[in-house]
Symmetry: C2
Subunit: 491 residues, 2 copies
Amino acid sequence: MSKGLPKRSDDYSAWYNELVKRADLAENSPVRGSMVIKPYGYSIWEKMQAGLDKMFKDTGHTNAYFPLFIPKSYLSREADHVEGFAKECAVVTHYRLKKSEDGGGVVVDPEARLEEELIVRPTSETVIWNTYKNWIQSYRDLPLLINQWANVVRWEMRTRLFLRTAEFLWQEGHTAHATKAEAEAETIQMLEIYAEFAEKHMALPVIKGVKTESERFAGAVDTYCIEALMQDGKALQAGTSHFLGQNFAKAFDVKFANQEGGLDYVWGTSWGVSTRLIGGLIMAHSDDNGLVLPPKLAPIQVVIVPIMKGKDQLVQLADQANKIASKLRDKGISVKFDDRDTHKPGWKFAEYELKGVPVRIAIGPRDLENGTVEIARRDTFEKQTVQVDEAPEVIFELMDEIQSNIYNKALNFRESHTTEVSTYDEFQDVLENKGGFVLAHWDGSSETEERIKEETKATIRSIPLNAEEEAGSCVYSGKPSKKKVLFARAY
Amino acid sequence: MSKGLPKRSDDYSAWYNELVKRADLAENSPVRGSMVIKPYGYSIWEKMQAGLDKMFKDTGHTNAYFPLFIPKSYLSREADHVEGFAKECAVVTHYRLKKSEDGGGVVVDPEARLEEELIVRPTSETVIWNTYKNWIQSYRDLPLLINQWANVVRWEMRTRLFLRTAEFLWQEGHTAHATKAEAEAETIQMLEIYAEFAEKHMALPVIKGVKTESERFAGAVDTYCIEALMQDGKALQAGTSHFLGQNFAKAFDVKFANQEGGLDYVWGTSWGVSTRLIGGLIMAHSDDNGLVLPPKLAPIQVVIVPIMKGKDQLVQLADQANKIASKLRDKGISVKFDDRDTHKPGWKFAEYELKGVPVRIAIGPRDLENGTVEIARRDTFEKQTVQVDEAPEVIFELMDEIQSNIYNKALNFRESHTTEVSTYDEFQDVLENKGGFVLAHWDGSSETEERIKEETKATIRSIPLNAEEEAGSCVYSGKPSKKKVLFARAY
């Protein structure tokens, strides 16, 4: 199956595109920039949704649903927001088709033109804050902690499966608070939740930080983010959490009666992660043989492949396989027994390697005689032969071990690809020849940031939250700087 | 809280609208015909999704995601389909906005006009069958059993929260099969799943049947449906399952190599239920005090209200309440302990009645002394005082009892509002004075069906699957008929 999968070292980009297709994760649709998420890819998204949704609910959030369409005029209400989102969006102008004159198809009915055009939501701050205006009168109505799972559309020119598509799936949290401190605490709490999800579920180490002004969400006071490193040395923004201040409350006139009897504008946050996470998951862990999935997000955690000659042997093997499967399922492990006689074991081995199934069990006639099975790990390709009775416990422990190993591998990669530099020569050299994150002093000006971007294609991914205060001088301008910031070329 | 909720007997329609708003289920948005599904309403939808999704997966289906936008030309590929769906749909014509000349807002950029307009999906048969063409080559690729949870848009002129909205949430299953028999069996299987979900989860008795030609899904060979009866005597179509024959396979040229080596067109089905189910749930069970929710779909199954004077008592009451809550949660029951001191117990009682919480526990100082609690049922308003130790078991059993009682009440209502008639006078009289389902002989012609609709506003809801073969004469034309069909005025 993996025949012809390009090698990462030869062409990382082609490797990614081919892998997404061959592993049945997604494909391009005839609608430019929109993808079809195939069942195997979607089941990874379902696991992500389940993990995140639980974390959101455990911290007091509830889900709701707001309209897909936003009246055009809403976008203009918040000045920065419209700058950021009006440019590339899908616009609904009509609400009816009619038969064409020649009878061969349908055309837009010019008489069914909308008075005000509708925008397909690129994000929902405007329509949600317009609704919150009616929901919030008093401090008793706060905080409002709401999340939405939805599709959004941004008319991107260059698209790439999962990483950048015109339509994508995501969740967007939108909260309203009585005080600045509470809203800021919420912003950080959600950043922490994203980081925990990335590290514990996706086995993806991330750096928590705050964006510079030029990389901030349109309409936010502060944008916090988690940044991860891919195997080609490029960074991927994996989630953002925005402190909105009172910007949207002012734009949509959302005030509340405070406990002292006065009227205040409400404080807001918004935060989101998307199907882009699937792209990050693939690029961080997978290898030249195919996907490597952390057990917590693998749609199938264990596959059992019988090694047999002829159908007669299948009965006995199936009996053994089903017993093991049943014991694994009792431990909450998802198992597939692939007893198809249309494909040979070797083909199946390659297929499940490609699909990133964390553990493969093989059972042949000799195993039956000896009461053993062969267990193979996808992450290290290590094999071991164990007694049937021990297999469930061994595999149960392997789940944690594989999860940790994948995380540690990604962490080691990131650590060995994070370089502190003190000169611009070094800075350029690292970006050109090594890649990865570069920690360097920066003078804090947007002008310097822009110049560096133009000259090196590297952007400031964030000012890491754990950056130490230390006097230094900007790697570009030589001006004074108080801390190092995180640079990288990025997706 | 329920002050001013209109009575069903006075104005059923106003009662419904007010109830949806006051119980915090949904509200109209500024985008005509689009609703905001509020957290309490959305959590009912989440329970519906979880129940249905499990049933789909247990029968071998997987989820996937297809694009929101459909190229205009796709709609015309299936002749009946375009007739049914082209008329009222949202059309995307542009992909960019720009600042208006006067600088006061944004306008559609005339230069960003799409070459081919995109339709916001009203249903996804076309874009999915266009994709299936690439996924299906051989009988080995079949059956393909895929479902999608998504939003869809149909530009309805008269909208009503949950029952008929321009944008709504739904699931749409789309399956592909090698034989006609297999596709027909799938169509019926999904109808059975919908009926089981309605009856077991929603406590809503339904009649399974097949639609007449004029009520068929645009592009289907046969449309099966489940029909439920609301308390005002009107019917509600609660779910449909379509046998598509080879219509979409032919429209999108989807062929497969069969086992004999020949090429055949693929057989298809599609099936869906939507947020409309929430409207049906409300209208079937609720009363003049508010929602009545079956325990299986209630976001909160049990609420505990402390009856106290002053904060001192709360500590002891809270201790008792938390113990009970914990035991209930161990049994898988969702519990809310409402210890707010900003509202009085009477206010809370009315609030949770309005919200349809199936069981209310009240604990006062005397209960503490006696080691008792008061348990009240939302469906019957019955109260009983039980020993604290017995409460969890009593409530656990109540969950089933309430679920059954709500179902039986709805079933009794339907049975007493299903009338067999043999003359057109009787037919009209029942519709005018009693309402409900009317079983009557019909000659099988669309003309008769249309006349009856014009004269009485009643439509043929379905030809019930369990209708007995019996010779008779059409209630309208007197022509021969082989079985009675199900008429009603409907939502």
